[in-house]
Subunit: 204 residues, 2 copies
């Protein structure tokens, strides 16, 4: 058994990248094991023995225990490495607010359209038409919040920024136009800088 934390993830998945960026930012000593969802890497007997649900990201602790759900892995990494999650309960609740909101009101539409368009090759007519206004409502809400502070939950980088930037920075791949959301665009650059990750090229 490995003595190091392992994270299984597919780099096309924002949910996986969230956990990788968090581990990198916090200086965690871990092994990244890249799987390709599209070629069935998460359906092998070997991987199903680790996570019977066949989902990534999956984190395996040095003692063999398993963690799943991207935002829960991020919370674990922050709590065990003392960073990206403020100390006071009110400020923590602001971070959690955005993390829950991301899963309920952002990811389903912003990541959902990207996956269907870019990876499944679905035409717009095959995707629920409500996802466009709902995704735009999420972006507008972020834009308003980011007009008031440099980071989504206040003045410092937290898990909430890493979680939300993962799919927001590739929103154009799902057909969302960020040109109306200036504060969101400035924040994407800021967070990419903080995380030392390269900007995503816009489709030409």
């Amino acid at each position: 058994m490995s003595r190091k934390l392992q994270i299984y993830g597919d780099p096309i998945s924002g949910n996986c990248l969230k956990t990788k960026w968090t581990a990198d930012y916090l200086g965690v000593d871990y092994e990244w094991i890249a799987l390709d969802i599209r070629t069935g890497d998460t359906r092998t007997d070997e991987f199903l023995a680790i996570n019977p649900f066949g989902q990534v990201p999956t984190a395996v602790l040095p003692d063999g225990r398993i963690l799943t759900q991207s935002n829960a892995i991020m919370v674990y990494l922050a709590e065990t490495n003392d960073g990206l999650l403020p100390g006071g309960p009110y400020q923590r609740a602001q971070v959690f607010k955005w993390l829950f909101w991301e899963q309920n009101s952002h990811e389903p539409y912003i990541a959902g359209r990207r996956y269907r368009k870019t990876y499944l090759g679905h035409d717009d007519s095959k995707i629920d038409a409500e996802w466009i206004p709902r995704g735009n409502a999420a972006l507008a809400l972020m834009d308003e919040a980011l007009g008031k502070s440099d980071y989504i939950a206040g003045d410092v980088l937290t898990l909430a920024d890493i979680s939300l930037v993962a799919y927001t920075r590739v929103a154009h791949e799902g057909g969302f136009d960020l040109s109306d959301y200036a504060a969101v665009r400035a924040w994407i650059s800021r967070v990419e800088g903080d995380l030392s990750i390269n900007p995503v090229p816009e489709a030409s």
Copy 2:
């Protein structure tokens, strides 16, 4: 300004009841302010001055600061009242896993169908057909977990149980049949007992 925590909520909303049950279980001294979403109580100038998004639940701290998002309010209540959230980071991550999963993979389908059928009066044909298999997949996954332990994140009641029971106990109002999920049904009774809440009558 009130010197007591206030929670604004509509008792038809499982998301609101989650926060009420958590506060009750933890013995928090708070004021519950019942609003009726359907008659516009969350759209009044008075309420929009408190929460510009017009959403419940909304918690107002004694100093006037606002908390939103049901699961984030629950985390705040647990962290400030020392209960329902285990101490160790791995066990906490298990609770967070289910809380995030609830928002992403359970609530959209289980609560979504209930709201449309029971409160908007929508016919099945007007609701995304995918919501039935997705809701059942969520119930099946819970049933498997609850076949192994009395509570969803292990052997003790946590926030994850309160969050998940809120809409699971009224799943039949959304057209889901719990008769195949014996472990889920036993767990609903267990959690209702722990929270001292009455069972929901099944539709006759």
